[in-house]
């Protein structure tokens, strides 16, 4: 997997918004790659730019700098006509299944929307495909004739997934796909996404704030802080031995039923706003190990050792003790 060219790649991707209070650097030189059939988990807090990144990769937001490559093709500045064949292969699942389905449209038409847009076939062929898709996501066949309001949150997310996979895309970006759902329903949707991946070989970019969930489903984890990637690597390595102090802090902060009452590495303060970013390392005001160098010099995202599968943007990687080593 490492040798082949990535399916989706972001190179030095930047998005800057002009607001009355000044320039907001929502994304600042993001480096990211997703390979075929792989699941990448993108983790970050509010203000990290994770949702902006999703919408930018899908070209719903215009990048102000850098480039996006999809299967080798630069798509960062394509017009909507030239983008259409890319859209067919790159789809999205939204966080809120109550907002992402048009309440005035029957489920059959919602799922058929991408099929019609890409001239999948005649009426009968589309109807047959919709029926097949509804069955694949575990919905009854008569669902096509009903409205979204007649379904629960979990069922609506199944409808949204059916729409996303209708054209058998190469990749799906899922922005917090289960966080709006009840705990007992979340696992159903996670398993459905995994089954679909096993069957169709779709690559996922899953955006989530829930680290255990990302660890559960992702091959690789990318950690975003203030619009920059601060750490990236294989999921089990990142969780077992975080190299960036922010990753370590995020892991320690995550409440789980297994680790309750353990000593915590507590990160102080709030994530700063992207409007007034600190100089040097953007994390240094909250960092427990920050030194003078961190206040003046911004660390680049580099591999900590030659040949390592991981990358970290920290002058002193790995100095924070892994928070979970004692528990597991």
């Amino acid at each position: 997997m490492t040798g082949a060219a990535p399916l989706l790649e972001a190179r030095d991707l930047s998005v800057t918004f002009a607001t009355p209070r000044g320039q907001v650097h929502a994304l600042d030189g993001v480096e990211l790659s997703v390979h075929r059939g792989e699941t990448v988990g993108l983790v970050g807090e509010s203000g990290s730019g994770k949702s902006t990144l999703a919408l930018t990769l899908l070209r719903a937001i215009e990048p102000t700098g850098g480039e996006i490559l999809f299967d080798g093709q630069a798509i960062g500045h394509l017009g909507s006509r030239a983008l259409k064949p890319v859209r067919r292969r790159l789809q999205m699942v939204f966080q809120d299944p109550y907002a992402s389905l048009d309440p005035r449209m029957k489920v059959g038409r919602i799922v058929a929307e991408p099929l019609r847009a890409h001239a999948y076939g005649d009426r009968a062929r589309i109807a047959a495909r919709v029926a097949e898709l509804l069955e694949q996501v575990g919905l009854p066949a008569d669902a096509a004739g009903r409205y979204p309001a007649q379904f629960s949150g979990g069922q609506r997310q199944r409808i949204a997934i059916a729409r996303a996979i209708a054209l058998e895309p190469d990749m799906v970006v899922a922005d917090e796909p289960v966080s709006a759902l009840d705990v007992s329903i979340q696992a159903q949707i996670v398993n459905l996404l995994q089954d679909i991946q096993d069957r169709l070989g779709i690559a996922y970019l899953v955006i989530a704030h829930d680290l255990p969930l990302v660890h559960q489903i992702a091959d690789r984890i990318v950690v975003l802080y203030l619009g920059r990637v601060v750490e990236e690597g294989p999921a089990e390595q990142v969780v077992a031995r975080p190299l960036h102090p922010y990753t370590a802090g995020l892991l320690a902060a995550t409440p789980t039923v297994d680790t309750a009452g353990r000593p915590r590495l507590m990160l102080k303060g709030d994530p700063p706003s992207p409007i007034n970013r600190p100089d040097g390392c953007p994390f240094h005001p909250r960092c427990p190990i920050a030194r003078d160098r961190c206040r003046s010099e911004r660390p680049a995202l580099v591999a900590p050792d030659a040949g390592a599968a991981r990358r970290v943007a920290c002058h002193f990687p790995g100095e924070v003790p892994p928070p979970l080593a004692a528990g597991a």
Partner: protein
């Protein structure tokens, strides 16, 4: 009615907050009212945090609102009583409730922005609450307010008194709301999903604060997140479809759940050591509210459902301080102890 959810060491002490047989209903034009909380017993003792864990629609928030006298119309308390320090709250008038809320009962909500009046400064909000409930002058009220902000870990407390809620970050706003809940030293604090809207690193800070402050009184913590309950609650009560299905000490319940629903929730949550294994979902979805229940509400989703489950089980003690409402509880803890 046996007091089933009391740890043995606390049995002698009278509970601070005691809820008995609470039923909350919503009338409807064509039939008997829909019952959203159906015969719930709970008690909280001094220095204890009870976690009420449930999913959306379980009735957990309605129960919390009832304990604060805030059941939204046309909902109403159909039966049962709520005692705070021995005093029955259900029969209170709105005027009497206003003396209880903010004084003996502190409240923390999920969204600090809706819980705080946006046009009042932090100092005004705290000062008003202090002067409404305590006989003190303005200077003393300001001093009490400042101390309350310090107690919730707000730096530069004196300057923050002049700030307005919208000028504060989400984490600071939630700290202000906790300060407001605590400023009159209430006997019981009810926190409804207090960290759900917060980022992970802020959530950890607020949970730490709540653990310390709620233990000074008595705390009822409403949450959907077992991890959050595990962090700060001494005991938990799992609520499903308006009824408590399992209670016990947090450690015991999470280590060896006895109700199939609790066990199912635990198997459905991703954990750090479970990578590579599939999550085990609970099939189906929670039922909507009903006016009368016949069978066990969890029966349609339960892998262990049996003919007896056609009759709804009562919450019964199975061990000291431990109760379950199930005809076929999950087997007790496996022999293997989890490593520390």
């Amino acid at each position: 009615m046996a007091d089933t959810n009391t740890p043995p060491d606390a049995r002698t002490e009278a509970p601070l907050l005691e809820i008995r047989g609470l039923r909350i209903g919503f009338p409807r034009p064509d039939g008997p009212p829909l019952v959203v909380v159906d015969g719930v017993d709970l008690s909280i003792r001094q220095g204890e945090i009870l976690g009420l864990v449930g999913e959306s629609g379980s009735g957990k928030s309605m129960l919390a609102l009832a304990a604060m006298g805030l059941v939204p119309a046309p909902g109403y308390v159909m039966a049962g009583d709520i005692r705070l320090d021995g005093r029955d709250l259900v029969t209170l008038s709105e005027r009497e409730w206003q003396k209880v809320r903010g004084r003996t009962l502190g409240m923390v909500f999920q969204d600090p922005m809706t819980g705080l009046n946006p046009v009042r400064s932090v100092g005004a909000l705290l000062g008003e609450s202090v002067r409404r409930h305590q006989k003190v002058g303005p200077e003393e009220a300001a001093a009490i307010s400042e101390a309350a902000l310090k107690a919730v870990g707000i730096p530069a407390a004196r300057e923050r008194l002049a700030a307005f809620p919208h000028q504060l970050s989400g984490g600071l706003r939630q700290r202000v709301m906790i300060a407001l809940a605590l400023v009159n030293r209430p006997r019981v604090i009810i926190a409804d999903e207090p960290t759900t809207a917060l980022d992970a690193t802020i959530q950890a800070q607020i949970l730490d604060l709540l653990r310390d402050r709620l233990h000074e009184a008595g705390g009822l913590m409403i949450t959907h997140d077992l991890g959050v309950a595990a962090e700060i609650c001494d005991r938990i009560a799992v609520i499903y479809h308006g009824r408590i299905v399992e209670t016990g000490r947090t450690r015991d319940v999470l280590a060896a759940p006895r109700h199939p629903y609790t066990a199912g929730l635990l198997a459905a949550v991703p954990r750090f050591h479970g990578r590579g294994t599939r999550l085990i979902p609970i099939r189906g979805a929670p039922p909507g509210p009903v006016s009368e229940r016949v069978e066990c509400s969890f029966r349609p989703r339960c892998a262990k459902a049996a003919p007896e489950c056609a009759a709804a089980p009562a919450l019964e003690a199975i061990a000291p301080g431990r109760s379950v409402a199930c005809h076929h509880p999950v087997a007790a803890a496996p022999a293997r102890e989890d490593a520390q």
